[in-house]
């Protein structure tokens, strides 16, 4: 997998954070920039951390066991699991877009950091799975670390601004784009696996 594909995958899952922050931004009467940067660091940083840690942990601690196993079933699992993860997450995001859940837009004076962190933990399941999926593809994210952190940080900032100016309804587009990106990458991995 090329560097650009890793970045596209990161952008794909960051659309989930973007959508969540769009809903938060839609409740704000005004954006306080210092607070937004803090949120970007906490929310975006947590997503990046989960993605990187799940990837490193699997590569370093479980890697030897799985990668060098001679069992055929394990080697099939290694090839299939990333595809299933990317497809699954992509389809889940598209489903969320189609569901188009209505949200009660109500003014919130402030974004509480505690609430943001809880939201970040809930949303980071996608990042955890993608980190695992990439580890199965023997891709170490260490080299892409800075880009991953930056993408996640920016997704939060742009998400809040989009919600603030254009409303939470923009989340549907974010889920659709993110979902299509993840499914496309899943497809690419599947084709690579089949024809390599």
């Amino acid at each position: 997998m090329k560097f650009i594909e890793i970045l596209l995958l990161t952008v794909g899952i960051s659309f989930d954070s973007f959508a969540v922050m769009t809903c938060k931004g839609a409740m704000l009467p005004q954006i306080k920039k210092p607070q937004l940067i803090k949120i970007g660091i906490i929310f975006g940083g947590w997503q990046a951390l989960v993605l990187l840690l799940s990837n490193f942990a699997l590569i370093h601690y479980l890697g030897n066991f799985i990668m060098f196993s001679n069992s055929i079933s394990v080697s099939i699992l290694i090839k299939i699991l990333p595809v299933l993860i990317f497809f699954g997450l992509g389809i889940y995001m598209i489903w969320k877009a189609l569901k188009n859940k209505f949200i009660h837009e109500r003014r919130e004076e402030d974004l509480l950091l505690r609430d943001i962190f809880i939201l970040a933990v809930i949303t980071s399941i996608d990042a955890l799975l993608v980190g695992i999926g990439l580890a199965f593809l023997k891709i170490n994210l260490f080299d892409s670390m800075l880009s991953i952190i930056l993408i996640n940080f920016l997704s939060v900032i742009f998400g809040v601004y989009t919600g603030y100016y254009y409303g939470y309804e923009q989340k549907t587009k974010a889920y659709t784009i993110g979902g299509i990106m993840l499914v496309s990458i899943g497809m690419r991995v599947l084709l690579n696996t089949l024809f390599s």
Binding site: A26, L28, P29, Q30, F102, H104, E105, R106, R107, Y164, Y165, Y166, G167, Y168, E169
Partner: protein, 191 residues
């Protein structure tokens, strides 16, 4: 205190909300739709309202409740109640949609609260005491009881096709008869 420009913007947002409610259900109205209709940027909405429900409160206060308070303060209680019926009749299509908003912050709930406050004002103004046989109830309880009654009549009248042709005068007269008579005066035995 709002200046003239703020009052205009608040009114524009309110008018836009009214137009939206005639086009789509309350749940599907977004703040962006309201601000686009009013020709202002989205964040402006929160300078005037906390959420869509507060627009309902503003509409009721501005167009009905404040005027009825003036009538009550001038000793025109019956006219105030009559005005409620006339106002709902004049804005029938808007309130037809408004009454469909259910849940914790239903329009019906907002209206009950507003009219209950209005009835409390009438009770307080006349400085009356609750009779001994009902004095376990507070003035608040009694005002709420009567406000639920009038709101039920309004809702039934506005939502039911059966009452579509009933005028505000007819409904007002029926309502006044109900609240000024006992149940046995209202119901007649068939001859």
């Amino acid at each position: 205190m709002l200046n003239n420009k703020d009052k205009n913007t608040k009114k524009l947002l309110c008018e836009s909300f009214k137009r939206q409610l005639l086009k789509r259900s309350f749940d599907k109205i977004t703040i962006k739709m309201i601000t686009d209709g009013a020709g202002v940027i989205r964040p402006t909405f929160y300078n005037y309202y906390r959420d869509k429900y507060e627009v309902f409160e503003y509409i009721l206060d501005e167009e009905l409740i404040n005027v009825t308070y003036i009538l009550i303060d001038n000793g025109m209680e019956i006219e105030a109640i009559k005005m409620i019926f006339t106002y709902f009749d004049n804005n029938r299509s808007f309130f037809h949609e408004a009454f469909k908003v259910e849940g914790q912050n239903s329009f019906e709930g907002i209206l009950v609260t507003k009219i209950s406050q209005l009835f409390q004002r009438i009770i307080q103004k006349h400085n009356v005491k609750i009779r001994e046989s009902a004095n376990i109830l507070s003035t608040e309880n009694i005002a709420k009881y009567y406000s639920i009654g009038i709101v039920y009549i309004l809702k039934m009248w506005i939502l039911s096709d059966k009452f579509e042709k009933i005028t505000s005068d007819e409904m007002f007269n029926a309502y006044m008869f109900i609240i000024t008579h006992s149940m046995f005066d209202i119901i007649e035995k068939p001859v």
